[in-house]
Every structure is written in C-alpha cells, then in structure tokens.
C-alpha cells in the first residue's frame, strides 16, 4: 500500500513541476523545439544534472537503497523510436506524460493527444510481433551506461556530464530572441 501512495505523490509533484515550467504547454514546447526559447530544455538538463549527481553520490554511501533500472541500448530501435517520437513531439507539442498534466489543467487538445496515444499503443500492440520485435533485437548493446564504455568511476562520470550540462545552461541564452 505504501508504494502506490508514494507513487501517486511523486506523480502529483512531477505534474505540478511540469505545469509550473509550462512544459505541458504545446506552444511553449514548440518554441523550445524551434530554439526560440530554451527554458524547458534547460529545465530538463538541470533535472538530469541534479539527478545524476544525487544518485551517484548516494551510490558511494548507500548503494543498497537505489533501484536502478537501465534500459537496453538496442541502437536501431532506440534511435528509430526517438526519430518517430520527435516528429510527433514537433507536430503535437506533447509528451506521453505532459498531455496527462494538460488534461489536469483543462486543456482540450491534451484529450486529443491522449486519444492519439492510446490509438498508437493499440496499433503498436497489433504490429509488435511481426514488425517491431525483429528490429528491437538488432544491434543490442545491452543495459550499458556511459561509464561501462569510458572506463572511469560512475561518480566521476556523473560529475563530468553534469558539468557539461550546467555549462550549457549557464552559457546558452534562455530567451534566444532577446539575446
């Protein structure tokens, strides 16, 4: 019972944060993808920088409390899926999560996005065995992380990537039009 309650609460906080930075606004997402405003991209980069520093610092002191779950890097499928996702992201301005937040806010187009998503999941389920499963198995590198490729300690890798993200946040303009 504890885990379902905690996961609802984590979802409430996540939805609240997404709403406050206007990541659930399709107009805001379109501006970010057109590189006119970078606030949502910076929000994501900062989230990841703080997250990686926190979890890999914790791993040094209390690795037993972390439930890492690394997704396999099947290069062809992940890249192809990303390319398809990007087209949908550019057209609709929603993610699978932000459209749920958008419904909470009262956005009508978010309902259309969810219906599209449910249709996409249904079609995917129907074609998975015939079309997707063979692609997914191509060039599977397994559940690898950056420090498995560049052999340095995990926390050092986290610091290096976080610093790169923080530098990009610091030196890129947020409002590109005004800069």
């Amino acid at each position: 019972m504890l885990i379902p309650v905690l996961s609802v609460l984590i979802g409430v906080a996540m939805g609240f944060f997404i709403q406050r930075v206007k990541a659930s606004s399709p107009a805001m997402i379109a501006k970010n993808l057109r590189l006119e405003n970078l606030s949502v991209i910076k929000f994501m980069a900062l989230t990841m920088a703080v997250g990686m520093l926190t979890v890999y610092a914790l791993q040094l002191v209390a690795p037993q409390i972390l439930h890492f779950d690394v997704k396999p890097a099947y290069v062809v499928g992940v890249l192809l899926g990303g390319l398809i996702f990007g087209v949908g992201f550019g057209i609709g301005g929603y993610c699978p999560g932000t459209c749920v937040v958008g419904i909470g806010e009262g956005r009508h187009d978010a309902i259309a996005a969810i219906l599209g998503g449910v249709a996409g999941a249904a079609v995917f389920t129907l074609v998975y065995a015939a079309v997707i499963a063979p692609i997914v198995k191509m060039a599977d590198l397994g559940k690898i992380r950056l420090f498995d490729v560049v052999h340095i300690p995990a926390f050092a890798m986290a610091i290096a990537v976080a610093l790169a993200f923080l530098a990009a946040i610091r030196f890129l303009p947020t409002d590109v039009r005004k800069a």
Binding site: I3, V5, L6, V8, I10, G11, A13, M14, G15, F17, I18, V21, K22, P26, M28, A30, L33, R34, N37, K42, F43, M44, A45, A49, G51, T54, F68, G77, V78, G81, G82, L83, I84, F85, G86, V87, F89, G90, I91, G92, G93, C95, P96, G97, T98, C99, V101, D109, A112, A113, G116, A119, G120, A121, V123, F124, I135, R145, D148, T174
Partner: protein, 194 residues
C-alpha cells in the same frame, strides 16, 4: 469549425464564437521558475529511484490497452506477446500517471491561472479542428515511437540520462533531431502560406 479565425471578415461576422473556439496564440514565451523546479525535479527523480525505480510514463499506455483487452477478449490478451511482456496495469507507473493528472490540476489551480483550453503551437493551427488534429497525430507518434524505443521523455531521457544510460542519450539525439526539424518546418510552411 468551417470558418478560419484569421480570414477577413470572420471576426466581424462571428465575433464571440470565433474568439472562443480558435486556438490561442502565445507570441512571447512566458518566464518560468525553471531553475527552481529543475533542481526539485532532479531530487524527485532520485527519490523515485529510492522508492521503486526510475520514473516512466509511456509503458502505461500499452498496459492500459492490455487491461481493456483482458476485459473484452481475455484469450487475445493472453496470446499477445507484447501485452504479456508489459504485464498488469497495477504498477507504480500507473499510479504515477494518476498523480500527473492531479498535479496538473493543482499546479494551475494554486496559481489561480486558467490554461487556455486550446493553444496554437504552430501558426497553421488557425482553427480548433486543426489544433486537435495535430494533437492527435502527435499523440499517436509519440506513444508509438516511445514503445519502439522502450521509453519516452521521462523513462529514456530524464531517468535514462540521470542513470547515464547509453540508450537515453541515443533516444534524446533522435527526438531532438526530428523534433527541431518538424517544429521549424511547420512554422515555415505556415509562414509561406501553405
């Protein structure tokens, strides 16, 4: 829905209905406290990894399809390899999605703001029907693409890159390549009058 809000005379002939129904244009991106919420979201992602695992949303869509399938045709649900692979809807991720709905509601409510019912993401979305069409097509492609890749913005990008997963970086490269391209093309096509 047959009229266009930007057509000459439309505002004069159907002032109220057109104004209510047309997607709202947002010419200037609003300033947001993204730095504060970026730090908080980073810590929240770490909390989630401590509680059950990294956050993720898109897997809930096929699990929802699986749940419907077990109600309608249990034999099909049992035989479909993908639905079997994704498993039951009663997972932490599904509760997270319920939370997202509440969080969006509270975020707008506590800030005393009313999100536009329909926003113009691209200049070509001059009617509500066009905006809903784009949202539906976009929704279809994001969930289909996310399932091909095995995760979406939350699972692959936020959680994946937080864990320094190679798959997260590959997915992010794909998303931003076509995301930037399609968003820029849609604004140019509309500017050219297409």
């Amino acid at each position: 829905m047959s009229y266009s809000a930007t057509a000459p005379g439309a505002a004069a002939t159907a002032p109220r209905r057109a104004a209510d129904d047309a997607p709202v244009a947002i010419p200037v991106a609003p300033r947001t406290p993204w730095a504060l919420y970026g730090v908080l979201f980073g810590l929240l992602g770490a909390i989630s990894i401590i509680v059950w695992g990294p956050i993720g949303v898109s897997g809930t869509y096929p699990r929802f399809i699986g749940w419907i399938a077990t109600l309608v045709d249990p034999a099909y649900a049992e035989a479909n390899p993908y639905l079997k692979k994704m498993g039951s809807l009663f997972k932490p991720e599904s509760f997270l999605v319920i939370g997202l709905l509440i969080g969006g509601f509270l975020g707008a409510r506590l800030n005393r703001e009313r999100a536009p019912k329909c926003e113009m993401a691209h200049p070509g979305e001059t009617t509500k029907a066009r905006r809903l069409r784009d949202a539906f097509i976009g929704g279809f492609l994001i969930v289909f693409g996310a399932r091909v890749a095995g995760g979406c913005t939350s699972g692959h990008i936020i959680s994946g890159i937080t864990q320094l997963s190679v798959s997260g970086f590959i997915f992010a490269i794909g998303v931003f390549a076509t995301g930037i391209l399609s968003a820029k093309m849609l604004s140019r096509r509309a500017a050219a009058g297409a």
